[in-house]
Symmetry: C2
Subunit: 278 residues, 2 copies
């Protein structure tokens, strides 16, 4: 790990990231020592910092941190997952933020999680979470450190055959997976939940929306119900680490063919490879 | 500080308290080296741990931690504020909690914050926060580490004359202060907001409710609107550190006499003193 520009594995126990979850983060893939879609991830980080009222460290500073983190790794061909946390830093007691806080930067590298190949090719089985997401428009869409809802939702299943859980909000709108964004395909059109009141708008979600635009596939950001889900032609989940997983099974829904999902998956992966060569 | 039973000031940067705000905390007063209302605070801690699905460390273990923390202090007569954080501990990536996590215990001692005496005697001026609390019944009432709403609310004012901010929920019900619970007095009766959908149910709030019961003062836990607030005979705020502050001023509300507030304040303080002697 690289913490505030130096090798380390601990932070001040008075960090506001711990006290209040007062920070934001990103999780992205590293291929051959290079973070994938780094510029776009940085933009997201910058945006999310602004939402909670902190000034994101410069891209140069974080790039230097990443470089150091990669140098720490002993393998010659470095593939894995990079997590970047930015917090409002050390503080004495009290919720009110300091005018010029000394932010904390915490970078961690870990190996790529291994999932069965079938998750990508044949789809995954998903759990329908009981936990309902609360609405907080001031924090909706951003990847902040207040993630107890995701923790409680992810604690709902322990069956290894279940790859992800789908979460609804407290008005029973479908919102997202516990660690992924969700799309459905209906009559050749894409629909993805509106995340203006809750949920995290991940970078892969943006990429799918961009791809749809390029390909002139209609993609609506909208309210989605469980009825919409179970009557969909295809459902798929995306995030920067897993890529794209079609949904094979969900209570009330079974699907064995996901042509559009696989087409988008192929494109996402192809674009990743282009980045690597470039 | 005492961290996991040992002197220290840092925690693992992979602690779930930092990654997800996956933990709970308490803040309480220490008088002459003794934590005030410790048994009741421990019960709250135990309850809050259970809500997020962790087993609270034993009261003996925490009492030993506190003893060590007090021994660290150099002053002979130790008065101050004790903060106890319990998190789900160190973990590798992923929201899903481990079956038997090794929890983290973080205890911090700080000096008693100094407030003008007038806050207790003449009341405080409060800000009406723009931020609206979201509803999350699964986490409502407990003192967990997901406190970005409080941070954003507390960032709304910088005027030193403002002692606290009052927060409403997204249906415009009055809920609490950013770091305190709220009561109103109307025709000799107490009313305090229902916290079953959001807010933190502090120990001082319980004590006021208990006192009302003892004194046969009606105390209703109910929905409160801003209309109820501005037409109240008295408004007061409580928490374990500040004790009780009557509200002197709030947009649309002015009050210079708070007989019941001061009576309850007197009792809370008297009971604290009894504890110290006992």
């Amino acid at each position: 790990m690289i913490i505030n520009g130096k090798p380390g594995d601990s932070i001040s126990a008075s960090d506001r990231g711990l006290s209040y979850g007062d920070g934001v983060f990103r999780t992205l893939r590293v291929h051959h020592g290079k973070p994938l879609h780094w510029q776009q991830h940085y933009k997201k980080l910058q945006h999310d910092c602004a939402v909670i009222g902190i000034k994101c460290p410069s891209i140069q500073m974080l790039a230097t941190d990443i470089e150091q983190l990669i140098l720490q790794q002993t393998e010659t061909s470095i593939n894995g997952v990079l997590k970047i946390i930015i917090t409002r830093g050390y503080a004495t007691r009290g919720y009110a933020p300091a005018a010029n806080p000394q932010l904390s930067r915490i970078l961690n590298f870990s190996s790529t999680p291994t999932y069965p190949d079938s998750y990508s090719s044949d789809g995954v089985s998903v759990h329908l979470c009981k936990l309902r997401l609360g609405h907080q428009p001031r924090l909706a869409g951003i990847k902040h450190l207040n993630r107890l809802e995701n923790v409680l939702a992810a604690a709902e299943w322990s069956d290894d055959k279940i790859a992800e859980g789908i979460m609804l909000d407290n008005e029973n709108n479908v919102i997202e997976g516990t660690r992924s964004n969700l799309f459905i395909v209906q009559n050749g059109k894409l629909h993805t939940p509106d995340l203006s009141r809750c949920g995290v708008a991940g970078l892969q979600r943006d990429r799918v929306i961009d791809y749809a635009r390029q390909q002139r596939i209609v993609c609506k950001i909208t309210e989605l119900t469980m009825d919409d889900l179970v009557s969909a032609d295809e459902i798929f989940l995306v995030n920067s680490v897993i890529g794209l997983w079609p949904v094979r099974e969900l209570p009330g829904f079974n699907c064995k063919q996901f042509p559009l999902s696989l087409q988008i998956q192929e494109w996402l992966s192809h674009e990743n490879n282009k980045k690597l060569v470039g």
